[in-house]
């Protein structure tokens, strides 16, 4: 190991050094040795976690090692055995989502199903889906939207409901701005984040036009009993403090051919999910049969998340 060699060198240099002080080279060597010493004192897991490699450059073996380390870390934190999928985007898959605004009743079941499925922090609360209540007389108008509506029962006759989460843009403004490349679009169209690479600068949150990105302002808290053990490295594994998270189309489900949790829970069938490349897939049929639109089309983000009026 080169680290060990330099540590011996530094020892020799220091004993023979000039009493005036350390030369720059000696100083840098000493700093390097001190840093190496601190890291050597840590457990191998901590060392690997700190001096990790960039996710997208991991070999398949290294990716498995990463998943194993993350599984151990979750076990240590929650006392629970979990699966940590590393399943990559499947060939011939291009995901998209459609939401029928004429059906949505604003019950927020999708919000809570998402929180449970994706191991979001319960305290403080983090929610990836935000349902906006809008006046029927105004149409889609964010300026007067109310995310904190709380009527006796939904739907309110004068309002309609617009759920918003990550739009999985084809030209995402958020991934472009990330200074360390901690967020990117996988080949199946899902925009993902490596929580272990994110530096927490929150540039992506400024860039996102849909308020889809959420920050862990403090250590996220949830009970081990509530933990969903079906995890993905780029998805719903528990997040550390100080990083950004968001909807992943339930990557741990979607890549295994399952619906995202929000689609399954929706009591009125307003949420549709599928593979655009499959001509008989749900999304292909909707795009063929219905007239769809996207939010903030003028920003040219080209979302994979479509809205339509089914009835």
């Amino acid at each position: 190991m080169p680290v060990d060699d330099s540590s011996r060198d530094a020892g020799r240099d220091e004993t023979g050094s000039d009493p005036v002080g350390l030369s720059r080279r000696q100083f840098l060597t000493a700093v390097g040795v001190a840093a190496a010493g601190v890291l050597a004192g840590c457990s191998p897991e901590t060392r690997e976690a700190f001096l990790q490699k960039y996710f997208r450059e991991l070999s398949p073996e290294e990716l498995e090692l990463r998943a194993a380390r993350l599984r151990t870390a979750v076990h240590a934190r929650f006392g629970k055995d979990v699966q940590m999928s590393t399943l990559a985007a499947q060939p011939g898959v291009s995901f998209a989502y459609a939401l029928d605004l004429s059906r949505c009743i604003g019950c927020r079941r999708c919000v809570y199903a998402c929180v449970k499925e994706n191991n979001q922090s319960r305290h403080p609360q983090i929610q990836w889906i935000r349902v906006l209540e809008m006046a029927k007389s105004k149409g889609i108008d964010f300026k007067d939207a109310n995310p904190y509506y709380d009527p006796e029962k939904v739907p309110d006759p004068h309002h309609f409901y617009l759920p918003v989460a990550c739009q999985h843009c084809r030209t995402p403004p958020c991934t472009k701005v990330c200074p360390v490349g901690a967020t990117w679009t996988d080949p199946d169209g899902i925009v993902v984040i490596d929580y272990d690479w994110c530096i927490g600068c929150r540039c992506c949150m400024s860039a996102c036009p849909y308020g889809a990105r959420h920050f862990n302002w403090t250590t996220p808290h949830l009970d081990g009993a509530e933990l969903n053990p079906d995890m993905h490295v780029l998805g719903n594994r528990p997040r550390p403090r100080g990083v950004v998270e968001k909807c992943t189309f339930c990557v741990h489900r979607a890549r295994k051919g399952r619906y995202p949790a929000c689609v399954e829970i929706c009591p009125v069938g307003a949420r549709k999910f599928g593979n655009l490349i499959d001509p008989e897939g749900e999304l292909s049929i909707i795009l063929r049969e219905k007239r769809v639109f996207v939010l903030k089309a003028e920003l040219n983000t080209e979302p994979r998340f479509y809205y339509f009026y089914g009835i």
Binding site: S206, R213, T218
Partner: protein, 411 residues
């Protein structure tokens, strides 16, 4: 003289001072400790100790950062006439501008670090070791240019001091190209910082091509405003000879910059208010408030009124040459640009947020303490560098060295 001896000499010089000097240093160190205490809380608890939330995800730290990038960039206001045109009165004080730039960049980098959710992962930004998203990410560009600018100014300052300590004149073929390069670099840091904001289509308050020019104009007001006050302090507390001509010339340049700054602001206000699109809401929040959300309104009008008054004071030769009105003008400009390029730039962009929600932000005591600590670090850097630079500039150092060691002191 080797680098170690140079460092030792310079350190000895920085450590020799009057009671007032040490009281000032002690006061700054106390503030730094106060800030460090708050930062330790933030490091332990997370950024939850601030009032930033998902709706307003950048605030006090990033506002201060932006303002200080302007201060750092403004060193060129002094450098251009001093070195390019060989204009005598400013030349002797240009080095102080560079020292200010170094101090401001140190503060900028600290404000970025305290704003990071994971400062332990800063090395992810280093190309080779980490993974810098260059050239796509404007923030990556910003990190790059800020560090280049810091190193550049440090090299110039250190080299000039090194020559000064040795009592020889500097080598123009080394210094002039470096200084020539620092001019576009200064424009670069502020332009790139503006592009970090202007490149975000989801934030119409920032997504304007006028943003970078506005950044440069306001920087050419705020940076010199601080310099003018510091020059006058140095005029009174040290033997450094700063000619009144130099101060008046800088004040005149500031009047032009302030005019452009106000003109560009007016152009933007006209466009927003006359066209009256949905983007207007952010300006409404700033200048009139939305319903009962009016936290920024008094500050917004303060920056406009201060800016106009300062412009008038600096435009009229009699008032820019009068020591009282000159200093009032400097304070007005400083206040104006600090509000405009600080909270006035950051808060309205997030209020309302992209989905129309209004979360009204005010900084917490933790944010304020950390900010005060960082400003104190900046003042500390500036004080220590000036402590060394001023006697070198005045020739005091060379004289003492000559009498002390008997060595010939040239330059």
């Amino acid at each position: 003289m080797g680098p170690i001896k140079f460092a030792a000499t310079v350190t000895r010089y920085a450590l020799r001072g009057s009671l007032a000097y040490w009281a000032w240093i002690g006061f700054l160190l106390l503030l730094v400790a106060w800030g460090v205490g708050a930062y330790l809380d933030q490091f332990r608890e997370g950024l939850v100790v601030t009032n930033m939330r998902d709706q307003v995800s950048w605030a006090f730290y990033i506002g201060n950062f932006t303002f200080l990038v302007g201060v750092a960039a403004a060193a060129v206001v002094l450098v251009i006439p001093a070195y390019v045109y060989q204009w005598k009165p400013i030349k002797e004080v240009a080095i102080l501008g560079e020292i200010l730039a170094v101090s401001a960049i140190v503060m900028c980098l600290l404000f970025v670090v305290v704003d990071m959710g994971r400062p332990d992962r800063f090395w992810h930004l280093i190309p080779g070791v980490g993974h810098m998203n260059f050239p796509r990410s404007m923030l990556a560009w910003d990190v790059l240019v800020l560090n280049v600018y810091l190193v550049l100014n440090l090299v110039i300052v250190t080299y000039l001091l090194y020559c000064g300590v040795q009592g020889r004149s500097y080598n123009a073929s080394i210094v002039v190209p470096l200084i020539m390069f620092s001019i576009p670099a200064a424009v670069g840091i502020h332009t790139v910082t503006a592009f970090v904001y202007a490149g975000l289509p989801g934030r119409p308050y920032w997504n304007a091509s006028i943003l970078a020019p506005r950044f440069l104009c306001s920087a050419f007001c705020s940076g010199p405003a601080i310099m003018l006050i510091l020059f006058q302090i140095l005029q009174r507390t040290t033997k450094i000879a700063i000619k009144d001509d130099a101060i008046w010339k800088v004040a005149e340049l500031m009047a032009y910059a302030m005019f452009l700054n106000l003109f560009l602001l007016g152009a933007e206000l006209f466009k927003e208010y006359y066209s009256n699109t949905e983007h207007l809401v952010h300006f409404q929040y700033l200048f009139a408030g939305i319903a009962h959300h009016r936290a920024l309104v008094p500050y917004a009008w303060t920056f406009v009124i201060c800016g106009v008054l300062a412009f008038l004071l600096f435009l009229i030769p009699a008032t820019r040459r009068n020591v009282i009105t000159l200093n009032i003008g400097c304070l007005l400009i400083y206040a104006s640009v600090y509000i405009e390029k600080g909270m006035g730039l950051v808060m309205p962009a997030f209020t309302p947020d992209t989905l129309g929600e209004i979360y009204e932000y005010t900084p917490t005591m933790h944010e304020f303490r950390i900010g005060a600590g960082i400003f104190s670090v900046g003042f500390l850097v500036f004080t220590l560098l000036c402590k060394v630079a001023v006697p070198i500039l005045t020739g005091e150092f060379a004289a003492r060295r000559a009498s002390g060691t008997g060595a010939a002191a040239g330059g």
